[in-house]
Symmetry: C2
Subunit: 325 residues, 2 copies
């Protein structure tokens, strides 16, 4: 007969839960107790087998996550923070993340389907959603449970969590208006992405609400060089704006390079509060990524009621790039 | 009787290996073939069970990885790139990463021991090693296989992979000497860390080999504000150096803020080639992180011969911060 958790608990003089904690969340157990339980485990030859537990419970307690390649121009850290928040939230629920890579969205779905069929994951975390994203319907068709960080516009069929992007650029615009700016421009990526369109909308609607003239609305791909070029277009405008709300820190960093290189004055607020924003003294809208990660795990393990608040407010971090009018 | 892989292969008219690819690396299989195999799987009711396979093979095919918290001052991307390289290398070997979090090194070891005992991981990836690191001996004592990215000075008992940090700052120093600099300073973190000491050594030995006078050797914790303060000390030196090799991009970014804020001339080379380096036009030494990730997985799955080359050369990326003498 194999020894059981109960045998170990009795031998160590602790509860079944304490044995479980030693196995699954050892940092919650005092070192002396942990040593006593580990000694009992060794003495009895107890071998808890998570794989066997998984088979019994029909649950691997693993959540799949496709790790995207690191884009050389991305300023990073958002992704690091999200992954850490997911892993941390999973730990509290005794779930872990399984990382995999794929070449594209189709490969991401195929990988998740294979891992789910094989019992290696219970569910998947989706992120980077866009309108018309093929992944949600494909995962539904293969009955792979998932939760989405972000929305596609057709999100009734699955749990999701999102950051209120409109509120982020609205806060940036109000901040600039309060500093005395009366003509505020916007720089973002091309129309058609849900996130980008909401960031533009926060700027536009806030300017309208405050009775401000709209500055130029310039778009381009999310890179330093495009940001630098769009910055030049703003400065060369016959009636240049005095401030600009920028949809990403990458575009804002490029734009700042032009502004500072020319010694020009233009207040700038970016989006994402990447480490580069701090290095450049760039004001930026910070996404509540830690809260989003925890909300994602909660949504996966305990699907939220339909009226649950899943739209999380971002926070404006003010630095030197926008503090002089 | 449960249908087997052979049954599926026969029904779909493909090899056993193709069925395995559809389950484990579907992106390697042409869509038409994949659909045929998936149809056969559905028709026969075949349910490959990775957990059951794991029990048979005594292998979860999972590699543990403790995800460290994201430091607010870290410029990121090194970690993102390492994780992606590990996941990508694991994919080719049909292994996946299991992410977990822990409060400290002791919790990291306890977590790995618990996961290994439970059969959830076969081995662990260790990184961020330092001299006297308690983790290698603790993992050995608990018989958890691991490979280390980095060295502690006592590394004979386990496979390791490292970047040649000395070669990185040596290349930076040679580059500055070739641009005409005759007195080159060093800014790094306090003595006592293996990585930091090797980066200082590459600067010092190269200056000696080229017959250059050593500039100031300043140390402080790895942050923007410390970098800015050390930059001011260099500029205020009675005999200021014309160039500086900096042990991290974070320190270099702080230093550049002071240099550019004062309109001073000082050639600067950082280390890590973070995205911020590109944003700041900062020359930097790039670690071969992708190669390191692949070498780590290879070391775990096929322990290397004792004389294998595990010290990977970094690459100097030259940008504007060091291109004017």
């Amino acid at each position: 007969m194999q020894p059981t958790v109960e045998d170990v608990a009795r031998a160590a003089g602790v509860s079944r839960q304490t044995v479980s904690n030693v196995l699954n969340a050892p940092e919650r157990v005092r070192p002396e107790t942990r040593e006593r339980v580990e000694a009992a485990i060794d003495r009895l030859g107890y071998r808890p087998n998570r794989l066997a537990q998984g088979l019994r419970a029909s649950s691997s307690r693993m959540i799949g996550y496709r790790l995207e390649p690191v884009h050389p121009h991305a300023l990073g850290s958002i992704h690091d923070r999200f992954l850490h928040a997911l892993a941390d939230a999973g730990r509290a629920e005794d779930h872990h993340l399984l990382l995999y890579t794929a070449d594209d969205a189709e490969g991401e779905v195929a990988g998740a389907v294979a891992l789910h069929k094989a019992g290696a994951i219970d569910a998947l975390v989706l992120y980077g959603l866009h309108s018309g994203d093929p992944r949600p319907p494909a995962l539904r068709a293969h009955r792979v449970p998932f939760a989405a960080f972000g929305r596609t516009g057709d999100d009734d069929g699955h749990p999701w969590v999102d950051v209120d992007n409109t509120a982020g650029t609205a806060a940036a615009t109000r901040h600039l208006a309060e500093a005395g700016h009366r003509r505020i421009a916007f720089v973002g990526y091309p129309p058609g992405s849900a996130v980008g369109d909401r960031r533009a909308e926060g700027w536009r609607s806030t300017c309208a609400a405050l009775g401000l003239r709209l500055g130029p609305d310039l778009r381009g791909e999310d890179s330093l060089t495009v940001g630098a070029a769009l910055g030049a277009r703003l400065l060369d405008d016959p009636d240049p704006p005095t401030a600009v709300v920028v949809a990403t820190d990458t575009l804002a960093a490029g734009l700042l390079r032009t502004v500072r290189g020319r010694g020009a004055r233009l207040a700038v607020v970016g989006f994402d509060d990447t480490p580069t924003a701090a290095a450049l003294d760039l004001s930026s809208v910070r996404q509540p990524i830690e809260a989003a990660g925890h909300a994602m795990i909660a949504a996966l393990l305990n699907p939220p009621p339909p009226d649950a608040t899943r739209l999380l407010p971002p926070e404006l971090i003010v630095r030197g790039s926008s503090s002089t009018p």
